[in-house]
Symmetry: D2
Subunit: 244 residues, 4 copies
C-alpha cells in the first residue's frame, strides 16, 4: 500500500539565493520528492508561506510520514501548527527531520532538549558510518556514505539518547556526530538524519535518497493499539471490578 | 559533599482536605524531606503559592536535585518557571518527578509527549518489581516493594522509552506500569517514580524513602563537560583550521 | 518477497505426553507453522532428533528467520550447532525465541547472561500489555492480549536491557515480566516472546499467532552493509593512506 | 568505603619487547594501578601466567571491579576462568574492559557477539568526544580527549547497542568508533573503553586515567536485590498461594 508522504520545506533560501536555486531549481522539497519516485510513495509538499504552512488538519490526517526541512525561519512557524504536528506524531504519523531541522520547533518540542550542536561551513568531507547494519534504514547502504563536501555538525548534540543509532558521522576537521537517530514517541516514530546543507547538492545523492526512502518506510504508521487514557474501571472497591 | 535538594510541592491538597492533612501534617514535601534526613542532603522546600513558585533563579542555581510533586494545579505553574526549570535541568540539575507529577508541565516539556496513562482509585495493591538489580537506585531494595493500597497507574504510559528501566509495577486489578524510569537530558538526569497518591501514607514508607534518596544521589550533577555550541572554527577553507 | 521461516522445535513433550499431544497433535512446530499460513512466508520445520538437529549449513543459509521452541532437552543441543546458529544470526538471520527457549543454549549464548527467571504452573491468567504502540510487532494488537491460563514467568529476568520493550506481562499471582523484547546482534535481529507453555493451547490463539507473524517480518534480514573486519589500510604512516 | 580493584593484564608484550617495556616498565597493569592511586581504591593485579591466571575464586570474591587488558594470548585464557568471571559479573562485580580486551573471551562471552572491528597501526590521532555530558564516567573531562597517536579502531564494531554511549572517537584516517560503552548484565555493570595500544603511553595520560577511575566508581557493585530464580510458590491452584 502506498505511503502518503508530505515533504515540508521552509522554501526561502531557494527563492533568495541564485546559488542555491541553481542547486535546487525545484526547491529542496522538489529534490527530496524526486528521490522518492522509485518507491511506492504518494508525495506532496507543503511550505512555510502557504496558509497554515500547508499543514492543515486535513493534510496531516492524510499524511503517513512528514519530512521536515527548515533553517532560517524556524521562529515563523506558528506554535499552533507545531502543536498540531506534535499531536499527529504522537498519534502515529512518522516524522523524518533533516539537517537544520534539528532547530525546528517541531523537533525541539518532541525531544524536550535544545537540540544545539557545533557547526562550520568549511567544505569538510563527511563520512556517515553505519553502526547498526541490521536496521532497515541501512538497507542497501555500504559501510559508509561519503559526501565530498558538507557543512560540519559536531558533538555535543543536545538530544535524548536515541532508541537506535544508525549512523555516526566523521568530518575532516576533527568532529563526530550522531547523524542517524531513531525515536519512538507515542504511537509515532521519528528519524533524524543529518546531511543536507542548502549550498551542497546532497539531496541529489542516490545514497542519501535511499536513506530517506528507507526511513519513510520505517517511520510509516503501524496499526498498533490506540491507548485508552484516563479512568480505567470504577473508582470503587476492587470487588466491583469485572472479574480478573 | 552534601547534595542540595529542593522539594517542590503543589501543597494544595493538604490545606483543603482534613483526610490528607492527617496523613501529611507537614505537607507532602515535609514527608519527603523527612525521608531524606538520614543521608548527606541539604533539603529545602518550595511550593506553588510562593512568589515564582519558590523557584527563583537563585534557588535553582543552588539546587543540585529538584523533586517535583504536583497534581491538581499543573496549569497554574507559569510557563516562565517551566522554561527556567527545563534550562536548569539541561544544564545539569537532577530532577526527580513523583507520581502525579507525570502530568506537570515540567515533565511533559522535558519528555515531549503527553505523559498520559490509565488510573483508578480503588485501593489496588501495588508491587514494584526491580528489573535492573545493578542500578544504584535499587540499592538496599528487595526484589519488590509492596504497597498495600495505592492509586493504580496503568499502561500505556505515553513517555519516551527510558534509558534505564528500574521498576515495573503490578496492580491487583490487572494492570502493569513502568514505574521507575531514568532519562538523560543535556547535562542533567531525570528519574520518574510512580508511587505517592495523596490519600495514602506512601511517603512514610521506608523503602519508598530509600528509592527517593537513591535517586537523588544518582541524579546529582557530575562535572561533565559544558558543551560549546555554535560555530566551531572559522567558516573558511579547512586549510585555515588549526592543524589536526 | 516470501520470507523463509524455519520453525525449530525440541519435539519431545508431544511424543511423551498424551495431554500435550492432544493440544498439539502436529507438534508445537505444526501449530506455529499453521499460524503463519496467512502471510507471505515459506515455512519448514526442524527438530532436535533429526541429524544436526535439522539445522544443517544449507538449511540455515536458506533461512531468513529461525523460530526456536525448546524446554526439557536444552543440553542435548550440540555446541557446534549452537555456534552455527549464533554465527548465522550475527550474519543477518532473524531469530524468534519462544517461551522456555529462554534457557536454550542459543539464546543464552547470544545474550551473555543466565536468562534465569521465576516460574510457576498454577493456571495464572496472563495479560500482555503493549508498552510500545508504534512498534511493528504490535501491529493489529489491542491494548493487551489476555491468556486465560498460562505458566507464570516472573522478574527478575536475567537478560540484557532490551533495545525495544514491546510487551510487559501481568500475572494473577502478583508477578510482572518483560515478555516481548527486541535485540540487535550483528547484522541480525532477535525477538524474545514469552507465552507458550506446552500444556496450554497458546499457539492456537490468533493474537499470539499475529505477534509471531509480526516478529518474523520485523526480524527478516535487511540488505545492510557486510562489515569488513580487520586491517583497514596499511599499517604505515598516514601519508601513505589513500587521500581522505 | 574503598573499592577493591583487580587489574588483570596479559603481561606478555612488556616481557618480550624492549620498546613496550620502556613505555610500561611496571607492566600495563602497573601503569593502570598507578593511575588509580589518587582515589579511594585498593588495587591489586593478576596476570595470565599466574596459577588460575591470578583469578582464583577468592580473588574474584574479594574484587569489586575487575579491569581487563589482553591482546595476543586471548586463547590461552582457560574457559573455566572465563565462566568464573562471567558468573561473578552477573552476581555484581564490575568489569572494565580496555582496548584489545574487546577480543577477550570474557568480553565476547558477556556480549554474545564477535566484538570484531577494523584496526590500523598508523599513528592516527584520536579524539574521544563526550556524547553524554551527564554521565559519571565523563566527570572532570572536557569536550574531548585528544591522543596524539594511537592505534585506530573503526566501525562497524560488532557489539550490542550500549545501554549508554559516553564516548565516540574520531580518527585522522577517516574512521569513527563507539569508544566508551556501558552495559548492565545481571547484577553487574560493564564498561568498554577503547584507548590503550601497547606501543603508546596512553595509560600515563591523566585524562585516560580519570576515565578509568570514573568507570571503576560507576561499575562498583550496589546492594541491589539478589534475585530468587526458579519456582515461585507452589505449582498448585492459585487459591493455595499466599494472599495477594
Amino acid at each position: 500500500m502506498s505511503i502518503a508522504v508530505t515533504v515540508w520545506n521552509e522554501f526561502r533560501h531557494e527563492k533568495e539565493s541564485e546559488e542555491i536555486a541553481a542547486i535546487y531549481p525545484d526547491g529542496i522539497h522538489g529534490a527530496i520528492a524526486a528521490g522518492l519516485q522509485s518507491g511506492d510513495f504518494t508525495v506532496r509538499s507543503a511550505t512555510l508561506d502557504e496558509p497554515e504552512h500547508g499543514l492543515t488538519e486535513d493534510v496531516l490526517a492524510g499524511t503517513d510520514v512528514l519530512i521536515w526541512w527548515g533553517h532560517k525561519a524556524h521562529r515563523e512557524v506558528s506554535d499552533e501548527i507545531v502543536l498540531r504536528v506534535q499531536r499527529r506524531v504522537l498519534d502515529g504519523m512518522g516524522l523524518v527531520v533533516l539537517h537544520s531541522g534539528h532547530h525546528s520547533k517541531v523537533f525541539k518540542t518532541l525531544m524536550g532538549t535544545t537540540c544545539n550542536l557545533k557547526w562550520r561551513e568549511a567544505n569538510d568531507k563527511e563520512r556517515l558510518w553505519v553502526v547498526n547494519p541490521s536496521h532497515p534504514i541501512a538497507d542497501g547502504i555500504g559501510e559508509y556514505i561519503e559526501l565530498p563536501e558538507e557543512e560540519m555538525y559536531g558533538e555535543f548534540f543536545d538530544i535524548p539518547q536515541p532508541d537506535d543509532l544508525v549512523f555516526v558521522s566523521w568530518f575532516t576537521g576533527g568532529e563526530v556526530f550522531r547523524s542517524g537517530c531513531c525515536y519512538q514517541r507515542g504511537r509515532g516514530k521519528i528519524f533524524y538524519f543529518r546531511p543536507g546543507h542548502e549550498t551542497y547538492p546532497t539531496y541529489h545523492n542516490p545514497e542519501v535518497q535511499r536513506v530517506i526512502a528507507n526511513s519513510v518506510k520505517w517511520a510509516a504508521p503501524v496499526d498498533g493499539p490506540v491507548p485508552n487514557f484516563g479512568l480505567n474501571g470504577p473508582n470503587a472497591p476492587l470487588e466491583q471490578l469485572p472479574p480478573r
